[in-house]
Assembly symmetry: C2
Homo-oligomer: 235 residues x 2
């Protein structure tokens, strides 16, 4: 499950990708690099659990993690995804609260743990870094508010179309137009906020209407324009 000796190649997170770490000085990068502890996780592993106290945050070096909240009778609501270069779990460090969500691995992942004090030091001493982190948080907040409006006003059908397009933006399509993330029907339902059966029925409908094609968990996005129309996308 975990491999404490793992030393991933973090250079791309520090320098190449558009991550918050690019706002650090070389010295600060070295400090983070020294403090970090990296592990690999398999699909289904819990990274941290809602309600627990954490003492650091994680940077995703590889794989995909879903961020979720547990609602009525244990039903998951998926809030967000994190992939290479994304950081997760920093919210509760900064607000000094218990974790308000869980993180669970979807695709086998490598995560780098960075202590909370390191983060807080950086926020307090590096204005650019703290601005960047604030911007990321604000952006997430904006997206959350958009999603509230959607989920409150749109039908399941509209939301499913929107979620498919959103997943396309996050994970891209391959050359065959296949969505580069494999989710169970239940996971899809837990993003859209509906029942598994509803997702299945609507996916079949979309397939019948030639908007998508289905092959197990592989979803091929055939008609973006029409999906946009269905999703009623303003944003």
């Amino acid at each position: 499950m975990k491999n404490r000796d793992l030393i991933p190649f973090c250079d791309s997170c520090f320098n190449d990708l558009d991550t918050i770490f690019k706002h650090l000085t070389p010295e600060e990068k070295a400090k983070v690099d020294k403090d970090k502890v990296c592990n690999s996780y398999k699909r289904g592993n819990i990274v941290y659990h809602e309600g627990s106290r954490t003492n650091g945050f994680y940077c995703v070096n590889a794989g995909v993690v879903k961020i979720l909240k547990t609602g009525i009778d244990g039903r998951e609501q998926i809030i967000a995804f994190a992939k290479k270069g994304d950081i997760i779990g920093f919210r509760s460090i900064l607000s000094n609260e218990l974790a308000c969500s869980s993180a669970k691995v979807i695709n086998d992942a490598v995560l780098c743990f960075i202590p909370g004090e390191t983060l807080i030091d950086l926020v307090k001493t590096n204005g650019n870094f703290s601005m960047a982190l604030m911007q990321q948080t604000c952006k997430e907040l904006g997206e959350a508010n958009s999603f509230i409006t959607d989920i409150a006003q749109k039908t399941v059908r509209e939301r499913l179309a929107e979620v498919l397009l959103h997943l396309k933006d996050i994970f891209d399509l391959d050359d065959d137009l296949v969505l580069q993330i494999l989710l169970t029907r239940e996971e899809l339902a837990n993003i859209v906020g509906t029942a598994t059966e509803s997702v299945i029925r609507l996916l079949s409908e979309f397939k019948h209407d030639k908007l998508i094609d289905l092959n197990g968990r592989k979803i091929k996005i055939l008609n973006v324009k029409q999906l946009e129309k269905i999703s009623n996308a303003f944003n």
Copy 2:
């Protein structure tokens, strides 16, 4: 509508209340005080509009403002409320995006406008202030995520009970247990994310069950325990 000569008494926001301004040095407070421009607004006035570019943020000195997004066919979704000591509109300043929500006055208000550069300067130079602001943003993000889970999983009835309790926490009750905020049925519906008629029917039901009492827009909260049970509150 606006009164440019208004000079409100901002001392309580700077010193007495638990606002983010309490993290400022006396010099920084003086700077903010000098830069601010205060106006009064009447119910219904728009403070800023979704999609517009803003160049500053506001501190609520008096009154109540609702933060909302406009969804399908102009239907409002109320995201949050702001009252004395709260700041609004800083999100888009920090993330350098267009306003992703509108702010509209519910109770006649006095708002102090503070230029965006002043905010950004403070974030970059005052670590404690920026930590506090980050914490506030993180807290809002946590609440938004909770609301997503609720709205996706709970029935309208459960959400209405929860919203009533939430309003009680924000605005308190007077000695007669009357909720200290007056909202139209439509506004209530726009918080809960449902139709006006549904709110009316459920309120009548709650009244019949002796959980609340109604007198025009005045809502008396009679049985908190039972409302909590209905709202299925985990959080």
